[in-house]
């Protein structure tokens, strides 16, 4: 479970009594709690959401209120998601980069 000692960027301070759920990020199964956003769920276990398209750095969201559009990430199937405003759902399969069927603008 993602607790204070989790390897991710975020640290949980409260509201730990919710139902657990699991999802996949870049093929790795991760755990979070019902009510977490996609951004929260991923960043409790990982350091970033995606790679920047226009620079070498990684990105992990910025405004968390749907204004900056920094936190859009891919799913293995289906449309991209704005991670800060999308509730995490059981079984989601998320990706930090574009899926195989999508051309990579950097290659």
């Amino acid at each position: 479970m993602s607790a204070a000692g989790s390897p991710g960027r975020l640290r949980r301070l409260a509201e730990t009594g919710r139902e657990p759920l699991s999802f996949h990020f870049d093929g790795v199964r991760l755990h979070a709690l019902a009510g977490d956003t996609v951004l929260t769920g991923v960043l409790l276990s990982a350091g970033h959401l995606r790679k920047a398209e226009f620079g070498p750095e990684r990105r992990a969201g910025f405004c968390l209120m749907g204004a900056c559009q920094d936190c859009w990430i891919w799913q293995e199937d289906g449309p991209r998601l704005r991670a800060c405003s999308t509730p995490l759902r059981e079984g989601m399969r998320l990706l930090s980069g574009s899926p195989h069927y999508w051309p990579d603008p950097r290659s």
Partner: protein
Amino acid sequence: MSRVLIVGAGPAGMRAAETLARAGLVPIVVDEGARAGGQIYRRPPDGFIRPPKALYGAEAKKAAALHRMFEEMLRAGLITYHPQSSVLGFSGNTAQITGPEGMTAIGFDRLILATGAMDRLAPVPGWQHAGVYSLGAAQIALKAQGVALGRRIVLAGSGPLLTLVAHQLRKAGANVAAVLDTAPLSAQAVGGLRMAMARPLVTARGLAMRAGLGRLYHAGVRLDRIEAGDDGPCAMHWRDARNRSHVTPCDAVALGWHLQAETALTDLAGVAFDWSGTWAQWLPRADAEGRASGGVYLAGDGMGILGADGAEVAGRLAASACLADLGYAIPLRNRGRDMRRLARMRRFAGGVARAFPWPAEMIRNLPDSTVICRCEGITAGELGDTLPLAGAEANRVKSLGRIGMGRCQGRYCQRAGAELIAALAGIAPAQAGRLRAQPPVRPAPISLLCSETDNG
């Protein structure tokens, strides 16, 4: 019955909806949040258990009253409510909206824009890295998700939110490494006095929170750079008021210089703008009640940064102005009281602006390698390179250099961009012009735009 569309369900939008409903109208409320409240009174998802006092502190009663009022209106069917929905733009008196039902079009006779505000950002070298956030983000993470954005957080910038977020994070058990305020104490003393004269209690509360930060808080600092590696920030490099250099280790940084009005829809609705020297930003033109041009009314921080209490008052006033213009008889007694309260909020806000100024000098001295457009990694040097061809005008600099063209649509770079254009051209920031808003004001899949249905 007249159709009134309200965009935004923060304190301004909620009070506007209440005022219209009391007059017998059924307003349509479109809001991006999953639950009404806006940013300041944002509610966590179902299943979260912290009480209002833990979430909203001294404002808990106001927050709870607003939430309750809105829920009661919803239950009674007094409003039509579209949560998790974004207005993308307008076509005449029709709003294009995306939401859980896909794309919809809603027609209206009058429009009340209560679109709120966001952090006003200034670039700091290194701010493009994962783990650098806005101050508002740090507060939202705590309030709506119960998480801290890192294990050792540096908060930097200026404005009331800086102290408030630091206080809230520490109270919740987060490790705040430093609170770095670019506002010098001299400015804070002058502005603070005006704040205290307008709203003594609120000012005293802020001062008490500040005092509680003790030695973590530093005024009059200069931010040099955010040192970062592959894993994000590892230290903030800064200088204190006596120009001594400091390096504060951290794994997260939250930045913000007070707030800026969210005005993209206001622009698309055809409202004029004026430069506000006080706020160092373009603000929409409206009368004291929020009446703008062409059947558009403005309320709350989207009109000018007056805060949550001012937003409640402004929401009532804008809705009353709308009702009066539609020919409804409205009680004038409350209007006089609300106008006086709003004037007091304006005096307070003027003090805040004076106390916590926009860091123009810091921006003008940024190294050329500093990323200005965080979306597309465009640097100060690259912005400067466009000037010989583009001239000193923000929209042309955007066309040639893409500053303001990225996915945030210039929300987080246009103020700094204008400051740099002004510095390079030797003009005032206002003379660099204002970026025109472009629809859609939020990203939408092309498939959705193609599938537009009309139920308006």
